[in-house]
């Protein structure tokens, strides 16, 4: 394939991927809604219909682009959902598992397509599933009924007795099913006839729908052309009424509409089913065929008559309008936002240059008036620029709920596969975070939740003994605190056993048994982030192999975040992730070291102080100072950078107190230059070995300043400190 051809394809491919992704996300949300509804009773048939339609749309999209795996999957799901909505397959928790698993499969397929740039990319198999799981579906679900008596037949017979055949024969199978269910429950069915001008039909139909929907279930819209006027269309709305007739009349007030009763309401007796006398249906052979569990049979309601075809199209159009009205958003590639942000950064540099010229002009002789005018204009420019920057930042921000949806799905899957019931409590889903952070954070969070369920929450029997409810709770909370977003994952499980972790760490050679004895509680808990140290009693399929928590920590640190753990044995464990709200622009403290200016991310700075040489003490050769009664280790940045200057500290030195979680380190610098919002640009791979910079930023005069990676510096400083203190035994003077 030539290069240009590939680029052409990738553009349509991108559209395909983003559209599909949107559909799959909606599917996932709808399924989770159904899951929630299923726990308290019967889900709204509209919800199931929504999922059915979602897969149908995805199928169309996938086949247009020739994505065979996805088409097959969507087809199978569509068929299964058709069976479900027709009441042929019961919607059980197991069936829902399978439906959700298919959503996962679709995501995997899309990811594979994205990675390979080929719509028919091979989907990598994952643990416990076989690739894209094509044509799964009905296998896991159970066909309703025991086979002796097709339930559909009973309903059919009943319907024919009460509903006029002229109505019945234009209904699709699904509509018939819904009508039958409602009639069975003794609700009244009405026909509401309205007249629309063809030009405004979309909007008017929508309005009618909004009025009638709260009153009951709309079975269908049937158009007729009785009026004889080609510009007018009569529409019959077949409505199952849950409310009183008076409510219906009130809803129709002000609309040109006639209502007519098709089936009178009865007081629904509890034993409705028994009042229906099952007769041997003349349509029996037909029923037999459709009852076959054949998930691959395309069961889309096919137009049986031209008249019905018209109905379908009318309905689709109505659905189209409603979709258009809710979707006010645009999907934007984050790369484009980055480019915009870069442009703003450039403008900012130009602004600084203009301001400088303006200042010089003011001190120069003559045309002072012009200089003042220029200054005023520059200030205005500055404000607009700040607005623009904030605007772009805002666009990058997305509610964290997007990710929580994914986590909810996964939680359900894990809890079911482990046989532990989990109640996931979510709070703060509307907290906004930089899109990039969300992308990067979902894997680490998944690990933590998996851990919480797998070896945080105990077996039901154990929980009962401990006096806890059988159902374990995992709380996922997000909230903003200053320039940070905090995400907490808390479980009410057994807590982390410090002794076991220490034992594991000793076993892996991270600690000597002697050192193990002198660890503080916090130090012990931090051991879970070492590679190979697991909190699990035994390894399971999901977790406990000791890979994970160290990766979690690395990933989060890479984003400038911190992860901390608190636990109480028998009560539970809480992981707290602290992340900067955005990665693109951060407020920073500018400091100078040996003539160079460096930026220290302000979110890691606790305070900055003047350091007088007299304050510096030494503990085992290491410089420290006492700050409010606590020992603060000092790190001279010139030494850290490998360019130590001789002699004692200068009088004017400053110390920037950097804090990371519970750890604090005093960075000794020559001077504080100021505070400024900086755009961080990444350093090339060839500079990675420096290991202590998060990037570089332009501060105004075209010269770059390096942005300190405070997290890395603190970690390296303490790691070196520990290493250095280990081999040298303290000389005991006795």
């Amino acid at each position: 394939m030539t290069k240009s051809k590939k680029r052409d394809m990738s553009k349509t491919m991108k559209e395909f991927l983003s559209e599909s992704q949107e559909l799959v996300e909606t599917l996932s949300r709808n399924l989770m809604d159904i899951d929630a509804a299923l726990k308290v009773g019967e889900p709204d048939p509209d919800m199931i219909n929504e999922v059915f339609r979602g897969w149908h749309t995805l199928k169309g999209l996938a086949s247009t682009f020739g994505a065979e795996t996805l088409t097959k999957l969507a087809h199978a799901e569509e068929s299964l959902l058709d069976e479900i909505r027709l009441g042929r397959v019961e919607l059980t928790a197991d069936a829902l598992d399978s439906l959700l698993e298919s959503v996962e499969a679709a995501i995997r397929t899309l990811n594979a397509i994205d990675a390979a740039g080929d719509v028919n990319a091979a989907v990598p198999a994952t643990l416990g599933s076989d690739g894209a799981k094509p044509a799964a579906g009905a296998g896991a679900a159970e066909t309703k009924g025991d086979g002796a008596r097709p339930p559909q037949a009973e309903i059919q017979v009943e319907l024919r007795e009460v509903v006029a055949s002229e109505v019945l024969e234009v209904l699709t199978e699904f509509e018939e099913h819904r009508l039958a269910i409602n009639v069975q429950q003794g609700r009244g069915v009405y026909r509401v006839r309205t007249r629309f001008a063809l030009q405004t039909i979309d909007a008017e139909l929508d309005a009618i729908k909004r009025r009638l929907k709260p009153l009951g279930e709309i079975i269908t819209y049937l158009p007729s052309t009785e009026s004889g006027d080609p510009d007018l269309l009569d529409i019959d709305v077949i409505l199952v009424l849950n409310e009183s007739l008076a409510a219906l009349d009130a809803a129709l007030d002000g609309i040109e509409a006639k209502r007519e009763q098709l089936v009178p309401p009865r007081v629904a007796p509890r034993d409705t089913a028994q009042t229906i006398q099952p007769k041997v249906s003349s349509k029996a052979p037909d029923e037999q065929i459709s009852r076959e569990p054949a998930p691959l049979a395309p069961n889309i309601p096919a137009p049986r008559e031209p008249k019905e075809g018209a109905i379908v199209s009318t309905r689709d159009r109505a659905a189209g309008t409603s979709l258009r009205s809710v979707s006010q958003s645009v999907r934007v590639d984050i790369g484009k936002l980055d480019r915009l942000m870069n442009a703003v950064g450039e403008l900012n540099i130009i602004r600084t240059a203009i301001a400088k010229v303006s200042d010089e002009l003011r001190t120069a002789m003559g045309r002072r008036d012009l200089a003042i005018e220029l200054h005023r204009v520059t200030r205005g420019f500055e404000r607009r620029l700040a607005e623009m920057r904030e605007g772009i930042l805002e666009v990058r921000m997305v509610p964290i709920g997007q990710m929580f949806d994914r986590l909810t799905r996964m939680t359900r899957k894990i809890s079911r596969s482990l046989g532990k019931e989990i109640h996931l409590v979510i709070a703060g889903a509307d907290t906004e975070v930089d899109k990039l952070i969300i992308e990067e954070l979902s894997d680490p969070l998944m690990h933590i939740i998996r851990n919480a369920i797998d070896h945080g929450v105990e077996e039901p029997s154990e929980r009962r003994e401990a006096g806890k409810p059988d159902v374990g709770t995992v709380a996922l909370t997000a909230y903003q605190k200053g320039n940070h977003v905090l995400i907490e994952v808390e479980d009410d499980g057994a807590g982390i056993d410090g002794e076991r972790i220490v034992a594991a760490a000793v076993l892996r050679g991270f600690l000597t048994p002697e050192q193990a004895g002198s660890l503080s509680e916090r130090e012990i808990l931090n051991l879970v982030f070492l590679p190979g140290v697991s909190t699990a009693k035994e390894t399971t399929e999901l977790s406990g192999r000791g890979v994970g928590m160290d990766v979690v920590k690395t990933n989060i640190s890479a984003l400038g975040g911190v992860v901390e753990v608190q636990t109480e044995l028998g009560i539970g464990t809480k992981f707290t992730i602290t992340m900067p709200v955005t990665l693109a622009i951060i407020p920073a403290l500018l400091v100078s070291v040996d003539g160079d200016t460096y930026a220290v991310p302000l979110n890691t700075v606790a305070e900055a102080l003047i350091l007088s040489p007299a304050d510096v003490e030494t503990v085992m050769g290491a410089e420290v100072m006492t700050l409010r009664g606590k020992t603060l280790p000092l790190c001279r940045l010139d030494r850290f950078f490998g360019r130590p200057r001789s002699g004692p500290l200068e009088e004017s030195s400053r110390v920037v107190v950097a804090s990371l979680g519970q750890r604090r380190l005093g960075l000794v610098v020559d001077n504080l230059v100021g505070q400024q919002d900086v755009v961080i640009k990444p350093l090339g791979e060839s500079l990675a070995e420096a290991g202590c910079f998060a990037g570089a930023t332009e501060i105004g005069d075209q010269r770059l300043s390096l942005v300190l990676d405070t997290v890395a510096i603190i970690e390296e400083f303490f790691a070196i400190g520990e290493e250095a203190s280990r081999p040298t035994p303290i000389p005991v003077v006795g």
């Binding site: 870069n342 950064g345 450039e346 160079d596 850290f640 950078f641 490998g642 360019r643 640009k681 990444p682 350093l683 090339g684 791979e685 060839s686 500079l687 070995e689 420096a690 290991g691 202590c692 910079f693 990037g695 570089a696 332009e698 005069d701 075209q702 010269r703 770059l704 300043s705 390096l706």
Partner: protein, 172 residues
């Protein structure tokens, strides 16, 4: 110089070039283009296709804790570019750079890299007959940096430097 040192130029350049991303398929009689530059008064050349831009050295920011041949970072049109001392990369001693110094911008595995040279001369176009490869110099330990020697005219000798080869070896 014996005949055995001169391998078929097309074949040799081709095989070296294939290590680079773009094998432009050098055929017999095709002209090669090199950008000439100076280091220590000697003229060198680099594959013209590898150099995207030539700029005067902008203010340099020193980066601590990296290898000595990495001079620091510079800002070119808003991008952070790693500035590398080509002099040190090909085994010459580091010195301060002259007024005529220029930065040749190139890319290495997607990363923008600037190569500092003492000055830029001009573009040389040579035929394959004027390009000799497979050179082995007795004393120099850095022959692996050299792709070949171009002789645009009998009195000029330009040492062609294997830019990508050097970068991938030393950036590792």
């Amino acid at each position: 110089m014996t005949d055995s040192l001169i391998v078929s130029p097309a074949a040799s350049l081709g095989s070296r070039a294939r290590r680079h991303r773009g094998d432009r398929g050098v055929g017999a009689g095709a002209a090669l283009s090199f950008l000439g530059f100076t280091l220590e008064k000697e003229e060198y050349g680099a594959d013209l296709n590898l150099v995207t831009q030539i700029v005067k050295p902008p203010p340099l920011t020193w980066v601590p804790r990296v290898r000595p041949h990495v001079l620091g970072v510079i800002s070119i049109r808003g991008a952070v570019v790693t500035l590398v001392d080509l002099r040190q990369l090909i085994g010459l001693a580091p010195t301060s750079w002259p007024r005529t110094a220029r930065v040749l911008l190139t890319r290495h595995e997607g990363e923008p890299i600037g190569l500092l040279v003492d000055g830029v001369t001009h573009v040389h176009r040579v035929s394959l007959e004027q390009y000799e490869t497979g050179l082995s110099l007795e004393e120099s330990s850095r022959t692996e940096c050299v792709l070949g020697i171009a002789r645009p005219d009998p009195s000029t000798r330009v040492t062609i430097v294997d830019v990508l080869g050097i970068l991938s070896e030393l950036m590792r």
